[in-house]
């Protein structure tokens, strides 16, 4: 169950990412430009990444799924610790994305 939920979370994250790409006006013209645009939107406060918040929230859930999977499926000791820390790392990335998405919105308002 945790493994399936984890993969669902990761798949959800992937779908959100694709959704972000597809929502950009330049996507169908030049994919490289689209990726550059999304990266810039994520790490600066440039408006235009409507799926950024969703991607961040999904990554938060995926990180937690990884932590739970580490408990249930990974052997005791160092591997479990590494998986738990990896899950927390994914959560931090998700948190940064959500914060970025809102900090631009806040400044605009």
């Amino acid at each position: 169950v945790p493994l399936v939920s984890f993969y669902l979370c990761v798949a959800g994250g992937g779908i959100s990412g694709v959704g972000v790409l597809c929502s950009l006006p330049v996507c169908h013209k030049n994919d490289i430009l689209a990726v550059q645009y999304m990266a810039r939107a994520a790490w600066t406060h440039t408006p235009g990444a409507p799926g950024l918040k969703l991607l961040g929230l999904v990554l938060l859930l995926a990180g937690w799924g990884l932590v739970i999977s580490a408990l249930a499926l990974v052997a005791e000791g160092a591997p479990r610790v590494i998986f738990v820390l990896a899950g927390i790392g994914v959560e931090i990335v998700g948190l940064v994305l959500v914060i970025r998405a809102h900090s631009w919105r806040g400044a605009r308002e």
Binding site: V1, P2, H45, L57, L60, L61, G63, W64, G65, V67, L71, A72, L73, E76, R80, V81, V84, L85, G87, I88, E91, G94, L95, V98, I99, H102, S103, W104, R105, G106, A107, R108, E109
Partner: protein, 435 residues
């Protein structure tokens, strides 16, 4: 009467302590009102009262039934181990559900859930509609708090020690996670959804100061909160971790020391940085110290409480500025920094400092305790935060949470209640000029 033979001094003491817990709610309400504007003061107090009422009712209807760790529970088998994930009590405080010791847990829970629900109010000050605050509280008290509360006080997080050998499982003595962090993360969700107050940020995105209207109320709230917190931490230690009754003084001493050092640290940091100690940031530091004490108060020694409090005071003071300046989060009451950051720091510190067998077991081994604490914190950030955000976002779609711009201009008192808290005062319209 049937339980008279098993009645202990700890039972009597814990019940007496629970009667003092509402002081924490009164303190938080005072702080929230004092740090808001004068034209929303009555609304703030009214919201506090309504939120407490809604939280108690939601907890009565279904919250306690899902939270209870003293009765039957829903168990899932994952990886060959039992995961206790939801209480299976009956709704409406059914007699079978609140039979002793459940009745004592329900008594404490009905106040604790109110405290958790009060925390976001300070964040949404001056712009959060009364009806929306009640709706958000109903979901928090009826679903989110009970679910996470069950995990921590009886469920799979508490059992991590038995099932996976991680110390004594996730430890949260007085609600550093269940009350403070859940309330603080809920406040963060509300801040994101409501957006900043009108005039808080310039067109360039720079924050401007909107000072609270009553520093006396804020300071009085801090002192009142101390009484409630000592009771809350002590009652939690007695109830959920069966701490020896003679150790309750240590719990209270640790709580006081945490608050004192955190308040002083905040005062010193603001004095060094701004030339004079800042009242609101010192109050935030004090509350942050109290929140940090909640997680670990029964399993640390007083010297460690001093360290935890000092770090909490500095952390909260810097976090308030960081949230405002770099995250564009307008949090008039500093709830996110004080409750979420302070609470999470206390839980993390427990993993570092815990070493004494203070909570019932004879052995000294606490191997893996830090990992159990990390898993609990990961659950807060990875599960509770998205859940509170998603639920509040949904409420916002159905019933707009932020007051109309006209309401913000008039003040929440006049717009939503029809009367102000201080009718003799003159409303200063120059605050609404474009900066």
């Amino acid at each position: 009467v049937t339980h008279t033979d098993q009645w202990t001094a700890a039972d009597t003491l814990s019940i007496a302590l629970i009667f003092l817990v509402p002081c924490a709610a009164a303190g938080l309400s005072s702080i929230s009102t004092g740090l808001g504007r004068s034209r929303s003061a009555a609304h703030s107090m009214m919201s506090s009262l309504c939120v407490l009422a809604v939280a108690a009712l939601a907890y009565f209807v279904c919250g306690y039934a899902w939270q209870t760790g003293f009765g039957p529970a829903h168990i899932a088998m994952i990886g060959g181990k039992e995961w206790n994930w939801l209480g299976a009590g009956r709704f409406f405080f059914h007699e079978s559900t609140i039979e002793w010791p459940g009745s004592r847990a329900a008594f404490l829970g009905i106040f604790s859930v109110g405290i958790a629900a009060l925390i976001p109010l300070a964040t949404g000050a001056d712009r959060w509609r009364l009806g929306a605050a009640c709706a958000s509280t109903a979901v928090l008290a009826g679903l989110i708090y009970p679910l996470f509360g069950h995990w921590v006080w009886g469920g799979w997080l508490m059992q991590l020690g038995d099932t996976y050998g991680l110390g004594r499982g996730f430890i949260d003595i007085g609600g550093g996670a269940v009350i403070q962090a859940v309330g603080g993360l809920s406040a963060l969700s509300i801040a994101w959804i409501l957006g900043p107050r009108h005039g808080k940020y310039t067109h360039d995105g720079l924050p401007t100061a909107i000072p609270g209207h009553n520093g006396v109320l804020v300071m009085f709230g801090c002192l009142l909160a101390l009484v409630g917190w000592m009771a809350l931490n002590s009652a939690g230690a007695l109830m959920y971790y069966s701490v020896d009754v003679f150790r309750v003084q240590i719990v209270a001493i640790n709580t006081i020391l945490c608050a004192c050092t955190a308040g002083l640290a905040a005062a010193i940091v603001t004095k060094v940085r701004f030339g004079k100690p800042d009242l609101s940031l010192t109050a935030n530091g004090w509350i942050g110290g109290l929140a940090a004490s909640s997680g670990a108060c029964a399993v640390i020694i007083p010297a460690e409480a001093v360290v935890i409090g000092a770090v909490a005071g500095v952390l909260v003071t810097l976090a308030v500025e960081w949230f405002e300046l770099h995250m564009s989060v307008d949090d008039p009451g500093g709830s996110i920094s004080a409750h979420a950051m302070g609470g999470i720091w206390g839980l993390l510190a427990l993993g570092v400092f815990v070493r004494n067998p203070l909570i019932g077991r004879a052995d000294d081994t606490v191997t893996g305790q830090w990992l159990a604490q990390l898993i609990g914190i990961a659950t807060l950030i990875g599960f509770v935060l998205p859940l509170t955000y998603g639920v509040n976002w949904l409420i916002d779609r159905l019933y707009r949470q932020r007051v109309h711009a006209e309401g913000e201009r008039q003040g929440m008192d006049l717009y939503e209640l029809g009367a102000g808290a201080y009718p003799e005062f003159i409303v200063h319209s120059d605050e609404f000029l474009e900066r």
